[in-house]
Amino acid sequence: MAMNRRDFLKVSTSASGGLVLSLSLPGCATVDTGYSENAGTWRPDAWLEIQDNGNIYFTLARVEMGQGTYTGLTTLIAEELDVEPASIKPRFAPVAKEYLNPAYKLQITGGSTSVATSWEPLRRAGAEARYMLMMAAAKVWQVETDNCSTQDGRVVHPNGIDSLPYARLASLAASEIPRIEVPLKPRSEWKYIGKQMKRLDAEAKATGTAVYGIDIEQPGMLYAVVTRPPRYGAKVKSFNKADVTVHSGVKDVFEIERGVAVVATSYWRARKAQRALQVEWDNDDAITLSTESVFHHYYKDSEQDAGVSEREDGDYAQAEEQAGKVLHADYEQPYLAHFAMEPMNATAWYKGDAMEVWASTQAPDLGRIAAARGCDLSPGDITIHTTFLGGGFGRRLTNDYIEEAAAVSYRMKAPVKLVWSREEDTQHSPCRPAMLHRMRAAVSGNRLEGWHHQIVGPQILDWYITNAAPAQYPWAPKMLYNTLGRVGLAAEGLATPKDVSAIEGAIDYPYQVPNVELRHTHSDPGFPITWWRSVGYSHNGFAVETFMDEIAHELGEDPIAFRRARLQNQPRHLQVLDRVAEMSRWNSASASGRAKGVAVFQSFGTFVAQVVEASIEGSEIKVHKVWCAVDCGQVVNPSVVSDQIKGGILFGLSAALWGEITLADGKVQQSNFHDYPVMAMHNLPDVELDIVDSNEAPTGVGEPGVPPVIPALGNALFRLTGVRQRRLPLKASS
């Protein structure tokens, strides 16, 4: 994305003297965020601030939830500014229009977009700042700017001997405006990008000093817990307030929109008192779903409604009529929880005409909308302070916990920290949707003539837009929020981006097949859903790459050879597939009792091929090894890329092996790590990763490791047992 400097960089002097670069991204300039200026001496839009005392601050517009933005984005600006990344102090961005994610026009961290969307503007800002510092030095020395150079935070005189530190030049530089387009460094001159760099947040996280949302303290702070309806949709009818308020330390017990809040002087006293709380629920609008009824509903809807056509190449119906054989498979995938290690929490402080909120959130501007819903203020009166996130995985794009904290603080007129228990997180959080995929393939001889994919399930935007739409129009009165949500949905694909959450990874089916049809039957059981690491790719990956394996088997072809033959126009798929075949020695037999399975999948612009080797030991599936080749364009930090892809593989394996939220009579049946297991160290497979060299622009790495590992494991189990599993999670015996 090429940008004109004048379009997005603004230069000014900071309050303390020094150079401040702020930016405005194209298309966002008209959004009034109502930011209230009380964040201290720095301006909220100060993206890069070089103070005359030597401090260099960089505002991190994308939150750090483990995926490495703190290090990666800082590295981008450091490279062009020509300073050590570790010498820059990142600070978390407040809500401001300058920090909107250009991919969504919302201030959200998700979709594996952080590096891809920052790649150009951050390097450009660094380069401009460096050039301004050189101009300032040139003026001091009365020399030509272009004859100056820089080295590690100093401008060097053309004589190669004298130099001035950036700190001394900062305020002078603020009056300099480059009249040329400052060129970016060529790749060959990079000192930090592409190198194995240490994470800048490692020390804080190894010493327990990194501050997460749950660590926030405010003077006179109270603690709150909320009892929510066991069945989604139920409302409070009555509750035994008097039995709860008698408990020591309890300050108040009252109804909020989402349940009944217990407020006390300590977390533990709030929890203990909560045990005495008995709520009678009005279940008129409550769900009564079971897992079986969800899928029954999906099958029924799939037969009554062929769905919206999302892609049509050739004529599948005709291909099926002419086919020698038609293959069918239905794949069922469950609701999935996120299980971020930091339970949901937020601290809110209502101060009459303003509110401050501290929270681990992936979407601070939506958090402001959520907080506004919980009190009598407008979004512009609310300041959201973000912290380090103890995991996000998409869960923290939904700010229900901020709404609750705001509502409780509004009532108490005091700072309140609201904390969910692990059980509450498991039972009251929105999930990755359960999905049904109905596949058909038209086969003649050894030719795959047609591919038909019917996706059955909900769209996430339906659940998300109630806060997302108002966040795009923060001046809109609150009474219009729900209307904005409906308008947003109506304008989907026209005024707002189309919701591709159900179809991503299926609509871009990469194989050369003459007749391809993709349909989405919109069926929403009414259970809350949200984004989950790799979103639609997570379930489409399993459906597409398992069915490809089934067809290959039916045609008697090797799974890789079968895919290769149909990827001849997809060089980046082919490259990673060939690489993983080589790494895994695909053509060599596994040890006795083990088998390998493969999958190749593109998500978020990143191409990933994986081979999984597994066995069955007693009643358990054992994953021995995962080979992975990835093409994510140019690499900012190889160790962060490696961590993200490998972490994604383990996240995907947790889902493949155990991940399942089930419903009975409208209630979630799982509650904690004992009945929602995740990968532990003793389950850990060996993971071998190769990042292929690329000159393409960088693409996301936080999510793309997840999708292929699920079908690759299923495909390995099929080769091992001869039994095809079409329902997740996978079982040792079916």
Binding site: R199, A206, L389
Partner: protein
């Protein structure tokens, strides 16, 4: 009720309900936020501290059971400005991602090495497998523990809080 504790060498008296988990005493009464709440049921290890030299899940340890005990938290590992060798290894191996579980991971590893200075890979896995990490940092944790195995001399559980 009043309970007394020695945490990272400092004596404290706290007045809390007797069933209050040690975790909330450490975090909210004493203000040491490095120890984390993860599951509240002793299932994830994020809240691991040392009680009289033994690793304990502070979320499931009532204060009345540890009255008078010597407690070490993540903050106590690096007292005096010198990082524990494991903390240094965590930084140089680049272990943390979101970082939330890492205090508990390091406390478990510190106890392992204090008792078994040269653990095998199997020993490490056996000691560490109860500490869950959702980001999937396990391989780097193993590498970090192995990088300091055999070189942890100055930290002994018997001397905690001394």
């Amino acid at each position: 009720m009043a309970f007394s504790l020695t945490v990272n060498g400092n004596r404290h008296t706290v007045d809390v309900d007797s069933d209050t988990p040690l975790l909330w005493v450490i975090r909210d009464e004493l203000g040491l936020k490095g120890t984390k709440f993860g599951c509240g049921a002793g299932l994830c290890g994020a809240c691991t501290v040392h009680v009289n030299g033994q690793p304990a899940r502070s979320c499931s340890t009532a204060i009345e059971l540890v009255d008078g005990a010597e407690i070490t938290t993540i903050e106590g590992l690096s007292e005096g400005g010198n990082l524990h060798p494991l903390q240094q290894a965590w930084i140089s191996e680049g272990v943390p991602q979101c970082g939330y579980c890492q205090s508990g991971q390091i406390m478990t590893a510190a106890h392992l090495l204090a008792n078994n200075p040269s653990p095998s890979r199997d020993d490490i896995v056996a000691a560490m497998t109860g500490n869950l990490c959702r980001c999937g940092t396990y391989a780097r944790i193993v590498a970090a523990v192995e990088s300091v195995a055999g070189s942890v001399g100055h930290y002994q559980p018997g001397q905690e809080g001394a």
